[in-house]
């Protein structure tokens, strides 16, 4: 972090007292910081002021006498005198309050907002005791469902412009607007166009009256019956801060908390309403077994914890360590992850542990690259390179931050993704390389940031002159790449312009790095990262999606890793871990794909799924199926039965959900923030750390001694892991909202980014030496030139809503998962022999799904995009691990 420069201040006088204000700051903010709260309805610190409600009128004198001014619209200036209490100001505010109440229904007793309503509070504090309005109030039909979850009561609406401003300014989904005029002005959607925004729930939170309500909370509770705790959203890796509110041991509402470094108070609807799944009646409430005699028979039987854990401990004890594997763990708190890492690696002694299911990145890449915080990426004037997933679909709160940075703070966005994303229309350069060629395109971009190389690559004469020079090879390489527009799918001019932007931005580049298509191998992204790390002072923001996946990697839930980014084969660093752990794995183990392959061969005796559903989440459905079938004993630790555990589990252990246990969460920037227990788990479900500790004690008495609380586990983590050393109870308490940012250990030690990959991706050489299986329709080298006629290169992208287990149990979002669609460029429609909207079968060498054909100009020609985990059409049945690209054909059905 750069040091905060000392700021000049502006001195103003508020009600006779001198106040130091920040230059350019609005009066209402300066007054509030100095302790004078000016009432307001339309003003919101995260949106531009509009001065519409007029509630914040105060008397301001800037040298020409006192005049009424809306304090939300007046920037402070030196010597400004403000009177918030004068007769004139009070009269104006009272007048505005009365005007607002003129048509506002007095239905507070049945209004959800009653008890936490700014209008009600203002009226109670300052308003008249009796109305002078004897006429009929304004009437509208109510409520109007403006989206699947949000209801609008236009009679209560005071037209503050907060929701409409949010939709337009913050979310970029201007689907609600003012209509009509004068006293008949109303907020509404356009005819037949619902407020279908991923962020619609925020409007409910910022509505200053009860005009907007959301289905999950409507008529559920009174605000004064709710208790609240600060926690962290768990559905994705952004780690948005939330307030979890509950009544009678049931979570009823989740609100966004304004963490300046993270989510600015905004949430996606998935984060906001995701708690509904935790209240589902289908939650696992007791351990369940399927008897060995009737193994994999459909009959479950509830069991006690003792019996279930004994049976698991017996099975693990009987198996050689390398025949035990643990998959998953990204759902867990940091403390639970540490306990599971300790159980697997330190007690059982297996390194076959992976929190990612083939849909992430190599932990060495994620942990080794110089890390950027969200604030670094969004710093005004910077440049962001997106080589990763569509943030709008996968990391909603990050999308809002990036969108704000690009739209309002002049951040330049260069996007290198296989298809258009939610950010494309605001990107400065939007490059869509053919699937599999991302690394080559990035190589070309990085080379082209050097004008000498560009000049040399484009001129034969200079090339000759440079013959003896060191840039010759680079120039020749760039010439080859620029000439391969067809293979890359991006023309030379676009590459050169984008490269110029990167060159100008030297030192201020943040790469948002992740898997932009799950049909493209992780190696492609990793090779691209290696190229980008050559840019000066570049930083990376890992866009891994899975909840607490960063915490899992830091805790060592990955093959070859121990807590705190210590590598298993790095003998000298192992000291602290050895001291706390009974033993260590003898050799580096298998990743998720390796585990499933081994299981399919019959080489895994115990497979533990900790909040994992390989059948739906692993990139290769066929391998996941064979692995689950092949493992001798499958154990699931989860909130629900999912497709994988229903198929194969022998033991199911119910775990406590995110609002049911204490702990901490590490977000994608490495920021650790608390997760808090608000309610008790259903039945006998237990926190994951407790399950791991219990098992560890059974397997190795004393190994979990003293580890009887998240705090105790955290203390051991701080001892064992250098990275977590800064994570003390004091540091967490000192920053309850923002959390504690863990810095990469090597960086902290003064070393530059610790990870470099040596191989250079070039045309004709596959990154990381992987090849398309020889059986594939597009063998070897040809693939870079595009798919054969009539077939497409597959792009698989996630959508905000899908058929995931949690969303299935979430009533408000259950119907929102889009059906499977096969999206191709309109120019490609003819080659399919069928038309838009046709029911088709998408076929690869490995499987097929049924989908609806859609024309989408955001998909480059030659590519076909499917949505991941669509209901009834899992895209992972098309993909095999070990392939960088997948070729598919479209058949009419």
């Amino acid at each position: 972090m750069t040091a905060v420069e000392p700021q000049a201040t502006v001195e103003i006088t508020v009600d006779g007292a001198a106040v130091q204000a920040r230059p350019g700051e609005m009066l209402i903010e300066a007054c509030e910081r100095s302790g004078t709260y000016i009432p307001r309805f339309c003003y919101h610190s995260r949106m531009s002021p509009v001065g519409m409600c007029r509630m914040c009128l105060v008397e301001v004198d800037t040298g020409r006498g006192f005049a009424l001014q809306p304090s939300c619209m007046v920037p402070v200036s030196e010597g400004m005198e403000v009177s918030t209490e004068s007769e004139v100001a009070k009269k104006a505010q009272d007048g505005v309050l009365e005007f607002l109440l003129v048509n506002h229904p007095l239905d507070c007793p049945v209004c959800d907002k009653g008890g936490e309503c700014p209008l009600q509070d203002q009226t109670m504090a300052y308003g008249p005791g009796e109305t002078r309005f004897v006429e009929e109030k304004r009437h509208f039909a109510k409520p109007v469902a403006i989206s699947e979850t949000v209801y609008l009561d236009r009679e209560r609406c005071i037209l503050c412009d907060r929701c409409t401003r949010f939709a337009d300014e913050v979310a970029g989904d201007p689907l609600i607007h003012f209509m009509g005029r004068g006293n008949h002005t109303e907020v509404n959607t356009f005819p037949d166009e619902p407020f279908a925004s991923y962020f619609s729930g925020n409007t409910v939170q910022i509505c200053p009256v009860g005009a907007l309500t959301a289905a999950p909370y409507r008529f559920k509770a009174r605000p004064w019956d709710l208790t609240e705790t600060l926690s962290t959203a768990w559905v994705d890796s952004v780690g948005a801060r939330v307030a979890v509110q509950a009544s009678r041991n049931r979570v009823l509402r989740v609100l966004g908390t304004d963490a300046d470094a993270v989510n600015w108070g905004w949430l996606t609807d998935k984060e906001r309403f995701g708690f509904e799944a935790l209240n589902s009646a289908e939650r696992l409430a007791a351990p369940m077994l399927r008897d060995p005699a009737g193994i994999r028979a459909p009959e479950w039987r509830a069991a006690g914890w003792g019996e279930a854990l004994d049976r698991l401990a017996d099975a693990v004890g009987a198996a050689p360590p390398e025949r035990v594997a643990v998959l998953g763990g990204a759902r867990l708190t940091n403390e639970a992850q540490y306990m599971w890492a300790k159980l697997a690696k330190g007690v059982i002694g297996t390194d076959n542990v992976d929190a990612q299911l083939g849909d992430g990145l190599d932990p060495a890449v994620v942990l080794g690259l110089p890390r950027a915080a969200i604030d670094d990426a969004c710093r005004p004037g910077g440049t962001v390179v997106l080589v990763g997933p569509d943030p709008k679909e996968e990391l909603g709160a990050l999308y809002l931050r990036l969108r704000h940075a690009v739209v309002y703070d002049g951040v330049k966005l260069v996007e290198v993704t296989p298809c258009e994303t939610g950010l494309s229309h605001m990107a400065k350069y939007s490059l869509h390389p053919r699937p599999g060629t991302t690394a080559q395109l990035i190589r070309a971009l990085v080379l082209a940031t050097d004008p000498e190389i560009v000049e040399a690559a484009e001129s034969d004469v200079i090339l000759d002159k440079l013959a003896a020079g060191e840039k010759l090879l680079e120039a020749e390489e760039l010439r080859e790449l620029l000439g391969a527009a067809d293979a890359l799918g991006v023309d030379a001019e676009s590459i050169k312009s984008a490269a110029r932007a990167l060159a100008v931005a030297a030192g201020e580049v943040t790469v948002v790095l992740g898997r932009s298509s799950l049909a493209e191998g992780a190696e492609v992204v990793e090779a691209a990262a290696a190229e980008l790390s050559a840019l000066p002072s570049v930083r990376f923001l890992p866009a891994l999606r899975r909840g607490n996946v960063m915490g899992a990697l830091e805790a060592g839930l990955a093959p070859g890793l121990l807590p705190g980014r210590t590598e298993l084969d790095d003998a000298e660093d192992l000291g602290p871990t050895v001291a706390a752990w009974p033993r260590l794995p003898e050799a580096a183990g298998l990743d998720a794909a390796g585990v499933l392959r081994a299981a399919a061969r019959g080489d895994i005796d115990v497979l533990v799924l900790v909040g994992a559903d390989p059948l739906n989440d692993f990139v290769d459905r066929d391998l996941a199926y064979r692995g689950l079938r092949g493992a001798a004993l499958v154990v699931a630790v989860d909130l629900f039965l999912n497709d994988s555990s229903t198929l194969a589990a022998d033991i199911v252990l119910p775990a406590a959900g995110p609002t049911e246990c204490d702990g901490t969460f590490t977000n994608l920037e490495g920021r650790v923030s608390p997760m808090s227990r608000k309610v008790t788990p259903p039945g006998t479900a237990r926190p994951d750390w407790m399950i791991a500790a219990d098992l560890a004690e059974r397997l190795e008495p004393g190994s979990a001694e003293g580890l009887d609380s998240p705090e105790a586990i955290r203390a051991e983590m701080a001892r064992v892991s250098e990275v977590h050393a800064s994570l003390t109870e004091e540091s967490l308490k000192a920053s309850p909202v923002e959390g504690v940012l863990l810095r990469p250990a090597r960086e902290a030690a003064g070393e530059a980014g610790g990870w470099r990959r040596s191989g250079r991706p070039t045309l004709g050489r596959r990154p990381a030496g992987r090849t398309v299986p020889a059986t594939g329709p597009a063998g070897g080298e040809d693939a870079l030139g595009g798919a054969p006629d009539g077939s497409f290169l597959l792009v698989a992208t996630r959508t905000m809503y899908d058929d995931g287990t949690m969303l299935r149990h979430c009533p408000s979002s259950r119907g929102l998962a889009p059906a499977a669609s096969a999206r191709i460029n309109p120019d490609d429609l003819a080659s399919t022999g069928t038309g838009e909207g046709a029911a088709v079968r998408v076929v690869s060498d490995f499987g097929h799904i049924e989908a609806t054909l859609a024309a989408d100009a955001g998909v480059p020609t030659g590519s076909l995009r499917v949505n991941w985990l669509a209901p009834g059409a899992p895209a992972n049945s098309l993909i095999a691990t070990g392939t960088d690209i997948t070729v598919v054909e479209v058949e009419a059905r």
Binding site: P49, V50, G51, M52, C53, R54, M55, L57, A67, L68, M73, V88, K91, A92, D94, G95, V96, E98, F99, L100, V102, N103, R132, F133, V134, E135, I158, L159, F178, G180, R181, G182, N183, H184, T185
Partner: protein, 485 residues
């Protein structure tokens, strides 16, 4: 919002008034009379809106004269002529032009033809009957300021004006007066016509710019105080009234000194006044600015020729529906912004509405308030809720459901929209409260609705009281002119 006019609604041939024919049987239009004709000179011709007639009667001579000069000299000429804006605020056009920040190109000129102030219909006549004069004025302004793009925003309901301006623009483009290389010089301007969707508030210049950009016509927040700093599409923009620009051709041909030979020293030139109501000869008159008094305009033989037979003046609105009302004792004020403002009202857009002794003060006030309640854009609370509330109370009083507390309530609501003593004319021994009013609203529309209420309560409180107590009903059923539909 005028009463039905002979020219309104259809492009029928206009009656020949070249002889200065006297009493107009039907609703008011332009009345030709003796006196200097700076901008209405061409109105006597039936085909005044054609390029042929325009050129035959000196059209585009002002443009040619301007093109002979440097742009700065044209600007200086306008500045030294003290051409006051005719939209309502009366700000000198030459000074306004000077607010354009240097070097922030492109600049835009926007012509405010959204004339909708109750009682005003002068710009409409200028657009319908001499569109070429307006186009010429635009060109002169563009030349003086170095602009290349002009937007002519015409009120949505003025179909004839739109048709005639469109036809005139086509003619002018074809004849080389507009477009690339005007009159053989390298001066090029494009003029585009846009039209509104029927909102009064779009007459406010920042709301007009919003509308022109394709958004809801709602006033922008200030600062910046002038579109000259941040206007259309965020660029420096000059917004001028139709009549202001229509003055430019004459000014260019005859020079600033000749211009200052008309009108008073502080308000030179002539000005068009739309006089309506209970008059013998209502209509639009071009009169000497700042010299003529209300009495001359209303009673003069050359003008309106007095109140209709058998009746006396009760009250009048001196400057469009937004202005606080005047009474017979104000008749001797000159038609000039400053003295009218000091007396507690404004000259505004040049609309004078005369009400005689048959007018029900409460009902007249209600009618004007109803207009503003209907036209409130809904953006800020005091205007959106307050104007409708005022209207509902007045309606209730008219319906015989008034309460004794209503009069104070009306005044207090008015005070919450426009705090402090509301501008009002002096009478009954009270001091005049000068214009303009203070406001809790974003734009002056809210206070405009307060004007008739405060004016009538101050003067005719007994009428309110008698309606509320139902002691002495005043059985008046006379349409209030100038208050619209």
């Amino acid at each position: 919002m005028g009463t039905p006019s002979a020219t309104g609604g259809h492009p029928a041939p206009l009656p020949d008034r070249s002889a200065g024919a006297g009493y107009i049987q039907h609703a008011p239009g332009y009345v030709h009379n003796d006196g200097p004709k700076l901008i209405t000179g061409r109105f006597v011709h039936e085909d005044s809106f054609t390029l042929e007639r325009s050129v035959a009667t000196g059209g585009y001579e002002g443009l040619r004269a301007a093109l002979e000069m440097t742009p700065a000299a044209v600007h200086d000429e306008v500045r030294s002529a003290t051409l006051l804006g005719r939209g309502g605020a009366g700000f000198p056009a030459g000074v306004k032009w000077g607010f354009l920040p240097p070097g922030k190109h492109p600049y835009y000129l926007v012509v405010n033809g959204d004339e909708s102030e109750p009682g005003t219909y002068k710009d409409r006549l200028l657009m319908e009957r001499d569109p070429h004069q307006l186009i010429e004025g635009c060109l002169i302004a563009c030349y003086a300021l170095g602009l290349q793009q002009c937007f002519l925003y015409v009120r949505g309901e003025m179909a004839v004006a739109q048709e005639r301006i469109a036809a005139a623009l086509n003619e002018a483009y074809e004849a080389g007066y507009v477009g690339r290389g005007i009159c053989g010089t390298d001066f090029s301007v494009d003029i585009v016509m846009a039209w509104g969707a029927g909102a009064y508030i779009v007459g406010e210049e920042t709301a007009l710019i919003e509308s022109l950009e394709g958004r809801r016509g709602m006033p922008r927040l200030k600062p910046p105080y002038f579109p000259a700093a941040v206007g259309l599409y965020g660029q420096p923009t000059i917004v001028n009234n139709v009549e202001t620009l229509s003055n430019l051709p004459w000014l260019m041909v005859n020079g600033a000194d000749a211009y200052k030979g008309h009108g008073s020293e502080s308000s030179p030139g002539t000005r068009m006044f739309a006089v309506s109501g209970h008059l013998r000869r209502p209509g639009v008159y071009e009169v000497e600015h700042g010299v003529t008094t209300f009495r001359e305009l209303i009673y003069g033989d050359n003008f309106c020729q007095g109140i209709r037979d058998g009746h006396e003046l009760k009250m009048f609105i001196p400057g469009g529906g937004s202005a606080p009302w005047f009474f017979p004792e104000h008749l001797d004020l000159p038609l000039e912004a400053r003295p009218v403002g000091a007396a507690g009202s404004m000259l505004g857009s040049g609309a004078i509405v005369i009400m005689d002794d048959t007018t029900d003060a409460v009902k007249a006030a209600w009618r004007v308030v109803k207009f503003f309640a209907r036209e409130s854009c809904g953006k800020c609370t005091p205007c959106r809720e307050g104007t409708t509330w005022l209207e509902q109370i007045l309606r209730r009083i008219l319906d015989g459901e008034g309460r004794p507390s209503d009069i104070d309530l009306l005044l207090d609501i008015g005070d919450n929209i426009s705090p402090g003593p509301y501008p009002a004319a002096a009478h009954n021994g009270q001091e005049a409260v000068p214009f303009p009013p203070r406001q809790t609203t974003i734009c002056p529309l809210g206070p405009s609705a307060v004007a008739p209420v405060v004016s009538t309560i101050r003067r005719f409180r007994h009428e309110y009281e008698s309606k509320i107590t139902r002691r002495d009903p005043i059985p008046i059923e006379v349409a209030v002119a100038g208050a619209g539909r």
